[in-house]
Subunit: 389 residues, 2 copies
């Protein structure tokens, strides 16, 4: 049996013909085990050292040692004694100290406004900030991003663990935005730029990927989840076995331009009947704006949203069959996605994939409101810097 293990290491090089061979040192094993202690405590748990030892399989001695280090760093604190009805010395309860560090999280997915927040280790938003860029693109958008991050860092009254950024566009493993049309970004080394300006660890990923990570860390905590992020376009983030899927050329999740109707309307990409021409926010608003508000229009509205859901399900159903997700989550404006649309997706996916030997996959809208991408950006930092997810 082999088990996946995440070990923080130096940045990987390019993938050439030969597969990369990455050594593991005892010190990497220790970093992993230290993360394990944090992971055990992460879901607001209060556990004793002995509890953690049982959960991880490490000995009490080792756990004590690891907890000692984490306590010195301020990340873990003792809460007091565990009251119990059983004989034996009562354990000392431990928990993560959510105020030990803050994270800077940026959501760049809106076209007009860049949103940012200071977030504590438990995912609570401590303060918010935003800059209006009014459609600014290119270098201007980069400096606006840096300034927003700097303002948030200035507000922090605690050590900043790092900066997480969720941005539209394709992002590679080194945090380079390969292609983001609404920002006119082509191969912009966003991670490097922000890291140089702030002298902090910076992590960048696609906004849909961030949304997926948020669901994995703060939402249903599913290990294998598909998040469909409906905004200007339609993007997907895939978490499979607890890991984000980047794809061969960092283009995973780009489902907005799958053609699902050969005689559909012409899309900006040059193809016909792309998913985005049916189910993106602009496409939906345009259709709904034509309605007047009369009684008959109510069922018209339902028909439009159901139709969009049906179109989305043509893309989602094959994914469900092929990957067997724990759940499917829709994120974006809930006034559009909730109700008829999500119901239609659920029903149509069920119709296309139902089987006597597999339960229907749950399909729901996000519970994280408008902060999905922001929380995902925060979770990136937690995962990257502390190995917690």
């Amino acid at each position: 049996m082999s088990t996946d293990v995440t070990v923080a290491q130096s940045a990987p090089g390019p993938r050439t013909g030969r597969r990369r061979l990455v050594k593991v040192l005892p010190e990497d094993a220790r970093r992993h085990n230290k993360s394990l202690v944090l992971q055990a405590l992460f879901p607001e748990a209060e556990l004793s050292r002995a509890d953690i030892a049982r959960m991880t399989g490490l000995t009490r001695v080792t756990v004590s040692d690891l907890v000692g280090e984490l306590a010195e760093e301020g990340l873990v604190r003792e809460l007091g004694q565990k009251e119990s009805k059983r004989p034996g010395k009562p354990g000392t309860l431990l928990s993560i100290n959510p105020y030990a560090r803050v994270l800077v999280a940026l959501d760049l997915s809106d076209s007009e406004t860049l949103n940012g927040a200071l977030v504590d280790l438990s995912g609570r938003v401590l303060s918010r900030d935003a800059v209006t860029i009014g459609g600014a693109v290119g270098e201007t958008a980069v400096t606006a991003t840096i300034e927003l991050a700097q303002k948030l860092v200035a507000v922090a009254d605690r050590p900043v663990l790092g900066v997480g950024i969720g941005t539209p566009g394709m992002v590679d493993a080194d945090g380079v935005v390969l292609h983001a049309p609404n920002r006119s970004w082509e191969s912009v080394p966003l991670r490097e730029r922000v890291a140089e300006a702030l002298e902090l660890p910076v992590l960048v990923s696609n906004d849909a990927d961030a949304a997926a990570r948020a669901e994995h860390s703060y939402g249903g905590r599913a290990e294998t989840v598909l998040v469909v992020h409906v905004a200007l376009g339609v993007g997907a983030g895939l978490f499979i076995n607890g890991k984000l899927v980047h794809g061969h050329r960092s283009a995973a999740g780009e489902i907005g331009h799958v053609s699902i109707q050969d005689d559909g309307v012409l899309c900006a990409c040059g193809k016909r009947g792309c998913l985005e021409t049916f189910t993106s926010v602009p496409a939906l608003r345009a259709q709904l704006d034509e309605l007047t508000g009369e009684p008959t229009d109510l069922s018209q509205r339902a028909a439009i949203l159901s139709g969009a859901g049906e179109k989305l399900s043509r893309v989602v159903a094959p994914l469900v069959a092929a990957i067997d997700f724990d759940e499917i989550v829709l994120s974006g404006p809930l006034d559009l996605l909730g109700g008829d649309l999500v119901d239609s997706v659920r029903e149509n996916v069920r119709m296309r994939t139902r089987s006597a030997f597999r339960n229907d996959v749950p399909v729901r809208t996000t519970d994280l409101g408008e902060d999905t991408v922001l929380l995902g950006a925060a979770a990136m930092v937690l995962s990257g810097q502390l190995g917690v997810s």
Copy 2:
């Protein structure tokens, strides 16, 4: 940056609400590094200890130590001196000794015949065997499988590393065949049964998954690949970032019963227009058998195969967009899949997903002939026992 690392460990428990926390010991790190040496040598490479040290980042001292152990186990052998034009002591060339062990590989995907082979460490088939079961199902099929494995073990003139089995049906992580209709298997603990009978390590997976693994290990060696296995049904195996995707309930890859045409013919599963009603081997043969062989029928044949490819692409295109595979491979009877069918899949996937910012994904038929599943079964053993892939 975090890097995936495979570490052999004891069998995982059930996935309950809480995530599993798996410790890593220095000894696991060593097992991993030892596998790294084998991985470096696996693609028929002849390398010196110093070469391996450079490739892995381990020191020459450590590599020497690991090579020493592997040599003692007979897995690695010295070939002689490396001739070079540069100054310095010439290195001692090492290679894997493909004859150090044999593997037993079984392909149970045919309905009439169970096929098996002895395979060496380089994937060469040393001898074959088969049993005709004539549609036998249930316990009879299990004992036939065990007998075939035993016959092959009896022929082996070297230590047997393990037994790999590719079988139709859904298979869970413990090698239990949850559901295989053509064998009438429901929750059959195939791995356990064979392991008890042979007292050898046994690894079981779905036939499409095995095919995917074969492409990953012996075919294009892509890290992220979709293999569509067309046989009695249509199944898919997904390798993502070098790891097989099992899915939430071991049902990943079950794409045969995605409905792609609402008014299609009724499928055995109860839905209409399932992919299998168009593109499985029986469905294709049935359509082709109606042709007489006259000139007009030649273009009819092309139309039938192209149509089947177009249907398949409706399922594959969303997967390509969502996961950004290195390549797509079709496996199964090449007289059906080659030519018009694969061309149609390639073209239709391209039509539905093409983008200015992503190259078209290569779509091809397997190079591994009829042995895809067999070689995948062998690769499972290599991966599971030696950490080589």
